[in-house]
Structure formats: structure tokens, C-alpha cells
């Protein structure tokens, strides 16, 4: 099947029910998207399909045919996306394993709601983080949105 990933078309010979996650990771060697649970619980595997965040561990590759897939690698060429920059500025990641998924989810939230409220963030950001970086994720999203100029920057603290 043909998959359009990060603006490139890839012809892959995979089963229709192979989850998109494993096509990305094991066939195309795009390792930024992570496996965490396999049942859409944790969101570490979040990518965009036509701009919508999907949990690629439970999303059959065949369902993405003809759609535009974006992974963390396709978000920017040089980590310059405002969400990525805010993640560094607020020193969000700890182990970092869930953060590709967190960032993809946040990017999608901000695309729909450029100035999300805390309630919007709570509703959209359902990804798990075992290190517990939620406070900084929230701060970083608000910062990108220009919501909270009072936010203390980690580096300047």
C-alpha cells in the first residue's frame, strides 16, 4: 500500500491490519513514535492523520491510505516548531519517552484552539507520562498560546 508520511510517499508491503505504529517503526525506521501499551491507553504512539491525532498502535495502516500522516520527525526539520521550542524552554521532558506523543497531541490541540483553557488542555492531553511532567506540559502549552505571560521559565527560575 502507499502511505504518505511527512510529505513523502512510501510504498510498503504490509498486512492491512498491521498498525501504523509498526509500519513507522519497524518498516520505515521512524523511531520517534513510541510503543507504550498497544491498546490506545497511553498515547506514546500519537501521530497526525490528516491533522487529527491518532494512536497509531491501534490504527491499521490501511486506514491511513490516501491520507497525510505526520510523525514527530515531520513536525519540523530542526526542532523549530513552537511547541518543540516551548518544550525545551520549559524543560518539560524527563525520560522523554512519551514526549513525541505529548507534543503531537499538543500541536493538534493548538491548531484547533490556539488559546486553550485549562479545561481544553485537560480534555485534549490524555496521554500518560510516568515521570509526571504534566505541570510543565501545561505551562508550555499556555506559553505557546500566549496565554500566560506570568509563567515562570524554568531556565530563568
Amino acid at each position: 500500500m502507499e502511505l504518505q508520511i511527512n510529505n513523502e510517499v512510501h510504498d510498503v508491503d504490509v498486512e492491512a491490519d498491521m498498525p501504523l505504529l509498526w509500519v513507522l517503526r519497524d518498516i520505515l525506521n521512524l523511531k520517534g513514535t513510541k510503543f507504550g501499551c498497544g491498546i490506545s491507553q497511553c498515547g506514546a504512539c500519537t501521530v497526525h492523520v490528516d491533522g487529527e491525532p491518532v494512536r497509531s498502535c491501534s490504527y491499521p495502516a490501511s486506514a491511513a491510505e490516501g491520507k497525510a500522516i505526520t510523525t514527530i520527525e515531520g513536525l519540523s526539520a530542526d526542532a523549530s516548531h513552537p511547541v518543540q521550542q516551548a518544550w525545551v524552554k520549559h524543560q518539560v521532558p524527563q525520560c522523554g519517552y512519551c514526549q513525541s506523543g505529548q507534543i503531537m497531541t499538543a500541536v493538534s490541540l493548538l491548531a484547533k484552539k490556539p488559546q486553550p483553557t485549562d479545561a481544553d488542555i485537560n480534555a485534549a492531553m490524555t496521554n500518560l507520562c510516568r515521570c509526571g511532567t504534566y505541570k510543565r506540559i501545561r505551562d508550555a502549552i499556555h506559553d505557546v498560546a500566549g496565554n500566560n505571560p506570568e509563567t515562570t521559565l524554568a531556565y530563568e527560575a
Binding site: E15, M18, P19, L21, W22, R25, D26, I27, N29, L30, K31, G32, K34, F35, G36, C37, G38, I39, Q41, C42, A44, I72, E73, L75, S76, D78, A79, Q84, W87, V88, Q91, V92, P93, Q94, C95, G96, Y97, C98, Q99, S100, I103, N122, A123, M125, T126, N127, L128, C129, R130, C131, G132, T133, Y134, K135, R136, I137, R138, A154, Y155, A157
Partner: protein, 721 residues
């Protein structure tokens, strides 16, 4: 059943080559001799390399898994070196080189919140020694007295002659200098890199997908494996029927491992795992197949009454007499369940076995543990094992004790054609059901109050399994596992008459070091029982603690700071209730206060958490803050939902739908109080969690009158709003 032992010829070859060349291939004089590294840099010592362009490479021996010491440990070296932090690169110490050099870089294991406090002295010496050698080189070249030379922010200068230089131009000459026998370390007042909230060096790759974790390794010719382990601990594999699985697309091999697991190897992990689901496996539970959580509870209850417990070392006075004389006597029993680590990156490892070497890539907290696991599994010489460094997707103790996942990967690789790299990845279900769990424990506490409301007599019975005994086979000194009783061995409260003991209570459930270890559970009992005593004495829980802490200035200090931060002595808003607790874990002093409200349906709304820590010296305050924030989330997840239960000998929880973790919507507001009073070096990664659980439960008592003595809270009708 297919059972292929390790290729004997290959094994002999590796052993032989080790005997011939092992241990001496690399120059063991490296630390003290000038050696030009491959990139043109000079090794000043084993920790510091300087290249001609003034870049300073500082070695990092431990493991980064989000706790931040890959940044903070090199900060210590850089400070004594008077380097310019902008010119510092950080590089992992090579594990194989470390072993061949007789463990020259000290401990690599990253556990017990130890990296800073247990390596700061040799890291400071490494920096100071390198600085002295740069100064000696400058003195020689400039013909001036070394004592007149200054080093500041990466610049070496001599005021009298006006000469100055970056590090790079003098690096080669510095590396040829005699190593000074003693160096004077800085006065903490002169630190300028220690104490700075520098950004963590491992964060940028975590935001663009380029960070490499153990599960991300990709090698030419790689195959992928999924494993199913006997669901009952201690059970074995009886037989399996792989006829359906064998014909599935991509399947390369199907094999048994260690008589207790079945693995499928395929050209893609998903294909391997799909095929694994189609294998019909018969297990033998070896007598553990009927064990339930209820059975385990009965065993532990019996342990509370056992007459053959081992004494803790801090017993003093006559607790029974003090209790007999007391005005009031309180007794309570507390229970904390088994818990799994559940790091976001599941267990896994990539292993490749060649005739002359074995390579492993795996997220770990114990690189040398990976090596010894492979030595044991394959019978190879440790000099020929190469453990490669990767970021760990969380560790929390899971990757610091057993390297069981590395063993499985090695035994799979041993059954594949030589040189075939195989990546084993566990499913989340395997990860949850084959952990080394936080020990289940029960505590019985008994204490008296005299007529002045002072604690008079204190008794504790601790019933727990032993991580040290079970995982390591370590005989317990005095019959006590110190990790199970930490929190009770040095009470911050001055109670002259104490009697505390420990009843070892083993089960068939594997035990491991779970973030904050004993300190993750003993404060739940100790700090709530102190609250119970305060209530019985009719006193405020904070002031009741304070009056018993007259001789413990450091415990008092952090608790006072936290109480001030929450405004303890002013009443909270109507409907909001507070709890407080204090702890002394891993060389630091931590206290927490929680404000919450509870509605009629039992939904808890946490309004504010104050987390305080005094680490003595503090290397990177922003990282300390991050660790406190994360530790709070960790503790509240455990408090609300955390439990691993057993039926028919098997763990019932399997994935995040039934092993709940806190999510964004439940995230409380956290304020951190950072204290660095100097005089000691305390840990950071784990201590933050210790006071949260009891402070939270004390606040729930204040709000509802319900004293929660067993976890998780979901079984007491509470939910998190």
C-alpha cells in the same frame, strides 16, 4: 519442544580469546598519561578531555533515565575545573572500557538517588585535578609561578604578564603534567556552576524524536522477538503447539527460553507478537497456581503476631514499660500493596552474538548488570561483552535490580545464526505481569501519650518480604532488610522508649526496588500514626510534630518552610482541609503539605501541594524542582489506584486500563520549596515522593474523618476529581 543450548564451539572461542587478550588490550595507564584521543583531544584524566578548539568533554558514568544527572554530575566537574559551561560536551563512559580498566569510573549503577551524593567527591577531585594540571602547564609555558595563575570560565590567565589562553592550547601540555597528589577543593561559596539551573543536556533530542532508547536500536539484518513468560511466578513451560504460528508471515523462529518462556522471532515485532498469540502453551505452575491476594494477606496478618521477629538497630529504653505508664495508648495497622514500576518504555533488549564479542543495547540503570547477566546467560567473558549506552524510557528501579529482559534476549540470540541481532520487546502486559514488584507490607504501630500530650513509648512491627534476600540472595544482617524498614530506623521524633522489629514474610512474588523503595511506604504508616497521636492528644498535627523534634534541626527546618509556604497557622478557606508530613529519605530532608476538599461522593479535589526538600548542597535547582513535581504525580497515582493483585498465582493487572496512572486532568497545582542549607549532599530522584502519600492521607482524614490505613484509596470510596 525445541531447546538449543548455546553453541559450545562459539562459547569456547569467546572464553579463549578473553584469556589471551582480555584485560590488557587497552592502555591501563590512560588516566595519567598524555594520550591523543582519536578526535585530537587530550585526556587530562579519565573524566576530562580537552580538544584544541577549547571544547571540554566531561565523562558521565551513570545512566540517564529522566532524573537529570547526566547534566548535574558533569556540572560538578566543570565547576572545579572552572570551565565555561557553554564549551562542555558530555559523553557516556564506555562500559567495556570501564570493566577492562578495573571499574575506573566508580559506580555506574543508577539507583538509590546516589549519583550526586556518592560521586561528588571524586567528580570534584577530577575537575580540580584537571584544573591544576592546566595551571601547571601554563606556568611552565609562560615561565611564571603557578600560584599567580587564575582560571575563570574557561580562560587561564596570568595578571602580571597579561598572558591568557583558552584550555585547548594548553591541553596537550596539561595532560603531560604530573598528577597532583592533593588538590584543594573550592569553598561552596565559590561555586558558580554547581547551583545553576542549567537546561538538561538530554532534553533537545526528546522533543524531535531523535533520542535513542533501548527499544529504538536498529541494526542491519535485525530480527524482532516477542516473549510470553509463564504467568505464574516460579512456574515452568510444559509444552506448546506452534503449528498455527509457524506459518504466519514473517515468522523466522519459535523457541523456548529458560524452561519458562516462549518466544517468536520474526522480521517485524508486530508479526512476532501476532504469531505468539496463536501459540497454545501449557504451563506447570509448580505449586504456586492457587495463591491469591487473600492468602498473602493472611500470611502477613500472621506475621504481625509472630514471636520470632528480628530487632531493628535503634531500639532503646523500655517501650513496654512506657506504654504501661502512658495516659492513653493507640494501636493501628497499616497496609501497602504490591506495585509495578510500569515505565513508559517496556522492557526489552537487543543482543548480537559474534564469535569474538557479544553486543547488547538496552535501557538500563545498571550497565554492569547487563554485562554480568550476559556472562551468566551465555558463559562468555565479561571483557568480550559490549553494553552500549542509550537513554532509558524511565527506570524507577525496574532496570536497576534484575536484568531479566537482557537474559531472555541473549538466550534468544544464542539460538539464532551467529551475528544475527535480535531485538526483544515485551508487551505492556508482560511488563506489568513480570515485574519485580514493590513489596507488599503490613505495619502495626503502638504508642502511648503521657498527660502532657507527649509520645511515651513507641512500638513498630514491620512485616514485609525482602528485596535483598529474594532478588540478590543476600543474607540479611541481623535478620533485617534495611530497605524494608527505612523510615523507622531513625525517627525524627525524640521518643526515648522505642521497640521496633521486622518479620520477614516471603511470597512467590518477585520483589524489586520501586522508586523510593521502603520510603515509598513506611511514611504512609509512620506519618499517619503521628497524626493519629496528635488527634488523640487534641493537638495540631504540625505543632505536635514540632514539639517532638527539638533535637532534629534539619527535619524541623524543612517542615517549617513547608508549613510557612502553605500558611499552616492561618485557617484554610471553608471546605478546604490540610495534611502535612515529614521524612528523611536518601540523605535529604523532605516535607509536604496538601490542601484538598472532598465532596459527598468521595471525589477528592487537590487544590495545592507544597513539596519541600533540603538537599544540603544542590547542583541543579530546576532539575530538583522537576523531580519533586514528578514524584508527587508518582505518589498520588499509587495512593489512588496502585495495586498489583493475584489470583491463581497470577498478576491480575495487565495494562494501563487496570493499572491506572494520573493524567493531566487530575494534575494538582504543585509548589516547590527548595532549600540548600549546605553541609551535606542529599539525594533528589526519590526523596520527593516520601512525604506526599501521608500528607495526602492526613488531609483526607482532616476533610472526612476517615483514616485510610490501607491502599489504594479507590477501595475506600474515593476518586480523584
Amino acid at each position: 519442544m525445541k531447546k538449543t543450548p548455546i553453541n559450545q564451539a562459539r562459547r569456547r572461542f569467546i572464553l579463549t580469546s578473553a584469556t589471551v587478550g582480555g584485560g590488557f588490550a587497552l592502555g591501563l595507564q590512560l588516566p595519567t598519561k598524555a594520550q591523543m584521543a582519536t578526535d585530537g583531544g587530550s585526556d587530562i584524566n579519565i573524566w576530562v578531555q580537552i580538544s584544541p578548539d577549547d571544547m571540554v568533554t566531561i565523562k558521565y558514568a551513570r545512566c540517564e533515565m529522566g532524573q537529570g544527572s547526566m547534566t548535574s554530575a558533569p556540572q560538578i566537574v566543570a565547576d572545579e575545573l572552572d570551565a565555561n559551561w557553554e564549551q562542555v560536551n558530555i559523553e557516556y563512559v564506555d562500559v567495556n572500557e570501564h570493566i577492562r580498566m578495573n571499574r575506573a569510573w566508580g559506580d555506574m549503577v543508577t539507583v538509590g538517588s546516589q549519583t550526586i551524593r556518592n560521586s561528588q567527591e571524586y567528580l570534584r577531585n577530577a575537575g580540580a585535578t584537571a584544573r591544576a594540571m592546566l595551571v601547571a602547564a601554563a606556568a611552565e609555558e609562560w615561565g611564571v609561578n603557578a600560584s599567580e595563575i587564575d582560571v575563570n570560565n574557561g580562560i587561564i590567565s596570568h595578571a602580571g604578564s597579561g598572558r591568557e589562553s583558552g584550555f585547548g592550547a594548553l591541553a596537550a601540555a596539561a595532560s603531560a603534567q604530573a598528577v597532583p597528589e592533593t588538590v584543594t577543593l573550592k569553598d561552596p561559596a565559590d561555586w558558580h556552576i554547581i547551583g545553576q539551573p542549567f537546561p538538561r543536556v538530554d532534553i533537545p533530542p526528546s522533543v524531535d524524536g531523535t533520542q535513542i532508547y533501548g527499544v529504538d536500536i536498529e541494526l542491519p539484518g535485525m530480527v524482532y522477538a516477542s516473549i510470553r513468560q509463564c504467568p505464574v511466578f516460579g512456574g515452568t513451560l510444559k509444552s506448546f503447539d506452534a503449528s498455527k504460528a509457524r506459518s504466519r508471515r514473517g515468522v523466522i523462529d519459535i523457541m523456548s527460553i529458560d524452561d519458562n518462556s516462549v518466544a517468536v522471532v520474526a522480521d517485524n515485532w508486530w508479526r512476532a507478537n501476532k504469531a505468539l498469540q496463536e501459540i497454545e502453551i501449557q504451563w506447570d505452575s509448580n505449586g504456586n497456581g492457587n495463591v491469591s491476594s487473600e492468602d498473602i494477606l493472611s500470611t502477613f496478618k500472621a506475621s504481625l503476631d509472630a514471636t520470632d521477629a528480628a530487632l531493628l538497630p535503634n531500639n532503646s529504653g523500655d517501650a513496654d514499660q512506657a506504654l504501661a505508664n502512658a495516659e492513653q495508648v493507640l494501636e493501628a495497622e497499616y497496609f501497602t500493596p504490591f506495585l509495578s514500576h510500569s515505565p513508559m518504555e517496556p522492557m526489552g533488549a537487543t543482543v548480537r552474538i559474534n564469535s569474538d564479542r557479544v553486543d547488547i543495547w538496552a535501557s538500563t540503570q545498571a550497565p554492569e548488570g547487563l554485562v554480568s547477566e550476559l556472562v551468566n546467560a551465555l558463559g562468555v567473558a565479561q571483557e568480550n561483552v559490549y553494553a552500549h549506552r542509550v537513554q532509558a524510557g524511565g527506570g524507577f528501579g525496574r532496570r536497576g535490580g534484575s536484568s531479566d529482559y537482557a537474559r531472555s534476549a541473549a538466550l534468544i540470540a544464542a539460538q539464532l545464526p551467529e551475528g544475527t541481532p535480535v531485538k526483544l520487546l515485551w508487551t505492556r502486559e508482560e511488563d506489568t505481569q513480570h515485574d519485580f514488584y514493590r513489596p507488599l507490607a503490613m505495619y502495626r504501630l503502638k504508642a502511648g501519650l503521657d498527660s502532657n500530650g507527649n509520645i511515651s513509648g513507641w512500638k513498630t512491627r514491620i512485616a514485609s518480604g525482602s528485596i535483598l534476600n529474594q532478588m540478590r540472595g543476600v543474607p540479611l544482617r541481623g535478620g533485617v532488610d534495611f530497605t524494608a524498614v527505612e523510615g523507622f530506623t531513625r525517627l525524627p521524633y525524640q521518643i526515648p522508649d522505642q521497640f521496633q522489629d521486622f518479620k520477614l514474610t516471603p511470597t512467590h512474588v518477585p520483589l524489586g526496588f520501586w522508586r523510593t523503595v521502603g520510603w515509598s511506604q513506611t511514611p504512609f504508616a509512620r506519618e499517619q500514626f503521628i497524626d493519629e497521636l496528635a488527634v488523640a492528644a487534641g493537638e495540631d498535627p504540625y505543632h505536635f510534630r514540632l514539639k517532638h523534634m527539638a533535637e532534629d534541626e534539619l527535619s524541623r527546618h524543612i517542615m517549617e518552610k513547608v508549613a510557612q509556604a502553605i500558611g499552616w497557622d492561618e485557617a484554610p478557606a471553608a471546605g478546604i482541609y490540610r495534611g502535612i508530613a515529614t521524612t528523611e529519605p536518601y540523605g535529604s530532608f523532605t516535607a509536604a503539605a496538601v490542601e484538598l476538599s472532598v465532596n459527598d461522593a468521595g471525589a477528592i479535589k487537590i487544590h495545592r501541594v507544597i513539596q519541600g526538600i533540603n538537599t544540603g548542597h544542590m547542583v541543579n535547582p530546576d532539575n530538583v524542582r522537576a523531580q519533586l513535581e514528578g514524584a508527587t504525580v508518582w505518589a498520588i497515582s499509587a495512593a489512588m489506584w496502585g495495586e498489583i493483585t493475584l489470583e491463581e498465582g497470577q498478576v491480575q493487572e495487565s495494562n494501563f486500563h487496570n493499572y491506572r496512572l494520573l493524567r493531566m486532568a487530575e494534575m494538582p497545582v504543585i509548589e516547590t520549596v527548595l532549600e540548600a542549607t549546605g553541609g551535606f549532599w542529599g539525594g533528589v530522584g526519590e526523596p520527593g515522593q516520601a512525604p506526599i502519600l501521608p500528607a495526602f492521607c492526613n488531609a483526607i482524614y482532616a476533610a472526612t474523618g476517615t483514616r485510610v490505613r490501607s491502599l489504594p484509596l479507590k477501595h475506600h470510596g474515593f476518586s480523584l476529581a
